[in-house]
Amino acid sequence: MELNIIWFILIIVLLIGYAVLDGFDLGMGVLYLTHNRENSRPLLLKAIAPFWSGNEVWLVAGGGALFAAFPYAYASIFSGLYIALMLLLVGTIFRGIGLEFRNKENSIKWQSRWDIAISVSSILILLVFGVAVGNFMQGLPIDALGNIQINVLLLFTPFPLIMGLLSVAFFAMHGAIYGAMKTEGDLQAKLIRQAKVLASVSIGLFILAFFVFGNYSIVNIIDNVFNVVALAVLLYLLTKKKCGLSIVISGLIALLYIANIGYTVFPNFVVSTIDTAYNLNIYDASSSQETLKIMLIIAGIGVPIVLAYTVFVYRAFRGKVQMD
């Protein structure tokens, strides 16, 4: 297979890694404020504390890999979506320091303010990501020189907004399932209830996005039928409290959906709404074959090691979380 195609797939894989892993701690942030400050929130934080910063590295690795493998895509997309990117970064900073500092003081004021920071920034990140993905599916006004000139407000048109809401709802569900897997009793029951509501909302949003976008290719139809069926199965499994299996399914939905979006835009990174001749594809945007080869060696050595110790650390912290 061509190196350009391999690297397009690897970028999508990194994005999937970020979505599936950081997705559950971001999603938990969405629901976080609906839980009791004193008893429940510390447990929810404890459930994600060992993992969130490692999960976030998938985003950084994705950014680095895009820079190295497809510098033109990296440059055009990030400079073109400047304000959106800044919102994303601000969200990431606030979430990071919120998670870091929330439990450093016992005062109610201190904790509830950081709680708001954690929750608002998690919602912001998921929303901006969803909206960005929606815009990539629709296409962007990229010109002959590879510059995207667009007012940030024009990114928030109906379809991208549906994708933004889908992102928030779906990953909130993903997070609730993760939380249910790590807790017991009333908290677990509440998280399962929330996950069920969000699963139903997600079914509606998947269907809505499907018809609004109007791509009736076989692959897209199959994937969306799968989404609906899988979410229905998930609703059943949640009734049976099978959280472990449920999170595998929600992870699988995210994986296939992102892969489907990648397949839809392939071989382009950015489809131009001005003229399809200006599309930024995996050949025009890429680094030299030599760099793609070097990067493949780096990924070939590095990623298996990363996966090995990630599994080790997740295993070390398996099981339910309890108050100290």
């Binding site: 504390a49 060992p50 993992f51 490692g54 590295v57 870091e100 912290f317």
Partner: protein
Amino acid sequence: MDVELLSRIQFALTVGFHFLYPPMSIGLGLILVVFEGMYVKTKSKKFEQLTRFWLKLFAITFGVGVATGVVMEFEFGTNWAGYSRYVGDVFGSPLAAEAVFAFFLESTFLAILLFGWNKVSTKTHFVSTILVAFGAHLSALWILIANSWMQTPTGFHIVGSGSTARAEIIDFWAMVFNPSTIERYTHTVVAAWLTGAALVISVSAYFLLKKKYEEHSLASLKIGVAILVVASVLQLVTGHSNAVMVTDNQPTKLAAFEGHYKTGPADMYLIGWVDVDNEKVYGIKLPGMLSFLARFDCTAPLKGLEEFSPEDRPNIQVVFQSYHIMVALGILFLAVSALSLFLWWKKKLPNYKLYLWGMSILFIFPHIANQFGWIAAEVGRQPWIVYNILRTKDALSASVSAGEVLFSIILFTLIYIFTLLIFIYTFIRTMKKGMDIPELPINKVEVI
């Protein structure tokens, strides 16, 4: 203001704030390995408590470092699209390698350090500490490789011309080990050790002044001093090798360090002011000393700024002053090292209040040296973003307006100041809460 200046301000601001934290994480990483190593070896409660205490402070530092650092990975694309397109083929891979080889390692094993005391064996915990410290050092290596390539680019060729021209890699290892990588990496890592050591010294001195955890604090003070002594002496060596390297590779930067205008033997100033208009320096100088440092010969001629047209020179005043502040602080660290060693030898390290007071603010000075050293290195590279290859003004994002950059500068300034204040507040609170030590003095606990 134009997009170029605003983009430079934003990059300097974000990377400057970020650069407060990684040197502490790298230095404290090393110190944690020492503390926990002592604990694993001797099973001493004292070192276990020191490890747990410093781990808390390390975690805060690391967390803020991560939060402020994610920005950097994206900022090349957002504000420097021209740069990203031109050099991505060469410059992107070390950044990606940093994430894959180092950042994952640190972030993942940090979980074991913080939350794993009861989940894994003592040995596994210690190995995780080593891996986190190793990851921090490795992370700095890849970043310094990328940054050094901007200073002394090698291993590539230029393909295409005009707006489609770009640098493409021809030799990965020549890029990795470009002429300044080793010198700049060693100088930066030793600076980080010094930063960590100074922080440990300051906190220990504070406790000794307050007569709290005296036995612990004396032990940590000694370890801090030992690392400070080694680091400040090593900094003489790496500082010198950097001067030689800069002489060989970046003559404009070297000339700017000392305001050396006329080609010929070069002087070294202890303190001075550059009269940029008249191309003169006023101050106290050691004649021929720069030539001696660079070439071991006081009369060796060095290229002066006169050989470069004004549009190829950096801002001389900024580079000159930054460089001299860094050097002066290097000398201060040597003096502090000598004094501390003397007191240690006399067994009077914790005896003098004045010494302890001084030491309790020592932590600030490595940060000042780090910031100014970095300013001297990076402003000294200007007007090039990649030395002699690509000018900074040609590296910008065409689709970003001055208004947008101004907006993000204001946003980042507010957030980074807020973050710093929260960091300082939390660090001090955590420090004052102190160590988890049972009521009885430590030596009695051990007897029981």
